[in-house]
């Protein structure tokens, strides 16, 4: 397996494509996180809030994006993780997680991180600093 230190500026970590989002994914996440805002699980509540259907918790996507780094946890730690939510994630969406090295310092590797949907539209974008 590759190590974080092997990646150079401009290189990307292997992207991860998630299975289509299911209601059960969001129900499990609601229970695990304690975020029971019903727009994430109940159609009528989402529609009442003016949405076409239930949407994933933003933190579900942010939590998933961390997955791209979990194979490297023996090598170091995440020091900083900052994102902006750019678009909504609906049921059946296929989300791809990406991370690209934008800067490499002696002990820090700075990544641009991104989650995109099946139309290649950003749903989340930000930066992550990995401390070696």
């Amino acid at each position: 397996m590759n190590r974080i230190t092997d990646f150079q500026e401009g290189d990307s970590l292997p992207p991860i494509q998630l299975a289509p989002v299911t209601r059960l994914d969001l129900i499990k996440y609601a229970g695990a996180s304690g975020d029971f805002n019903p727009i994430h699980t109940i159609d009528a509540e989402a529609e009442g809030a003016g949405l076409p259907g239930i949407i994933a918790h933003g933190m579900w996507t942010m939590g998933n994006l961390a997955k791209i780094f979990t194979p490297y946890l023996e090598e170091g730690f995440i020091q900083d993780y900052a994102i902006r939510f750019k678009g909504m994630v609906f049921l059946e969406d296929v989300i791809t997680l990406k991370a690209t090295v934008v800067e490499k310092k002696q002990r820090q590797v700075i990544f641009q991180v991104q989650a995109v949907n099946q139309s290649d539209k950003d749903v989340l974008k930000g930066d992550l600093v990995f401390l070696l």
């Binding site: 809030a49 961390a66 194979p71 946890l73 020091q79 900083d80």
Partner: protein, 141 residues
């Protein structure tokens, strides 16, 4: 003005449940031996686990919104989120967090709240700092 969340014990089972919900497959999140051989003193929490602390402690995010911000937590959107990590949170730690409104403003007809949450462990060390941008959305009748 600061709102104190109730101290929250980090249970190994909760870490496992959260990692499983996000399908984080690394056994580091469920097996102490794996975590130790990876250099951790115990089972660490996944990077966004602080959200569990916010929502599951006994004086939580819902009370902060209803009693302190006077906002319906179901009528907000999450615009931005960042975490600064100082010390790894491990199973067995007790985390006491404090949240404050750093800034509040009105833009394009919407109310914005910039929140900062500081997470401290049982030795009063800062383990993480979370920053969130919350946007109030109007109720649809």
């Amino acid at each position: 003005m600061v709102f104190d969340y109730a101290p929250f014990l980090i249970e190994a089972g909760k870490i496992k449940e959260f990692a499983k919900a996000l399908q984080l497959e690394n056994p580091i999140y469920r097996d102490e031996e794996t975590a130790k051989s990876a250099g951790y003193r115990g089972i660490p929490v996944p990077p966004t686990f602080m959200t569990v602390i916010d929502f599951w402690n006994d004086r939580n995010f819902y009370q902060f919104f209803a009693d302190f911000l006077k906002l319906n937590p179901n009528h907000v959107l999450h615009g931005e989120q960042s975490y600064e990590y100082h010390k790894v949170i491990l199973a067995g730690d007790t985390i006491a967090a404090q949240v404050r409104v750093k800034e509040q403003f009105h833009k394009k007809g919407k109310n914005f709240f910039l929140l900062e949450t500081i997470y401290r462990n049982q030795w009063n060390e800062i383990t993480a700092v979370g920053r969130a941008t919350i946007i109030e959305i109007a109720e649809v009748d």
